[in-house]
């Protein structure tokens, strides 16, 4: 199942989540993956740990982060999640801060991860109109409607 189909069918969306810091945002939003059995809780703590060690590698564009770790770091199944933040958080990436949209990704296979999942998320992020709509959405159902309406 592709990224958008997954988000739509699983309603894997949190809109206007409240978080004070980037760590809190990553851990709290990532429950979308844990609750659906797609990732172990350590998948999320690994993301935080790696960001602290290597810098905010998950920040991929202005306002957007893509929290993910490697398959062997706690992945259980292919899963995605979209979280918008009520108040943006700072990741320490001057080119792209503040971050308001988190797009989660977990994949048990490195090849799927890179060639399929990441490129589908990058496709979405490359559509500025859709990103602006997602950032303005006021409910999870509105976010799902935006994805349903987006031309592929």
């Amino acid at each position: 199942m592709g990224f958008k189909d997954y988000i739509i069918s699983e309603s894997a969306v949190i809109c206007n989540m409240e978080a004070q810091t980037w760590e809190e945002a990553v851990l709290q939003g990532g429950q979308l993956l844990v609750d659906k059995g797609k990732a172990k809780p350590e998948y999320l703590t690994n993301i935080v740990k790696k960001c602290k060690e290597n810098g905010p590698y998950i920040v991929i564009a202005p306002g957007i982060a893509m929290p993910h770790a490697r398959p062997e770091e706690g992945a259980m199944g292919l899963g995605y999640g979209i979280v918008t933040l009520k108040n943006p958080v700072l990741f320490g990436d001057p080119d792209n801060d503040p971050i308001k949209l988190l797009i989660y990704l977990v994949a048990p296979d490195a090849k799927d991860h890179n060639e399929v999942a990441v490129s589908q998320i990058a496709d979405l992020c490359d559509n500025e109109d859709t990103i602006q709509l997602l950032l303005k959405a006021e409910s999870a159902s509105e976010i799902i409607q935006i994805l349903k309406g987006e031309d592929r």
């Binding site: 290597n54 490697r70 399929v116 990441v118 490359d126």
Partner: protein, 86 residues
Amino acid sequence: MVAEKILIHNPTGLHTRPAKNLVGEAKKFESDITVIFKGKRANLKSLIKVLKLGISQNNFIELLCDGPDEQEALAHLKNFILAMEG
């Protein structure tokens, strides 16, 4: 314009962290830098455009550099890719 084919050898390919580092290196040059993979072209100075290509280990990419510092850019980026780990 100068161009060269390069093999991606690091296990995770041009995945987020290595790709982000590579984009950072490309931005240091004035030349236009394009990566071509499976017939698709992307601006190497845009992480999103690069991630869209989905480049993995053992894929060949072609780097095109065009501009005043094209020679230095190509040499530097090739070495950077060959030295990538992780």
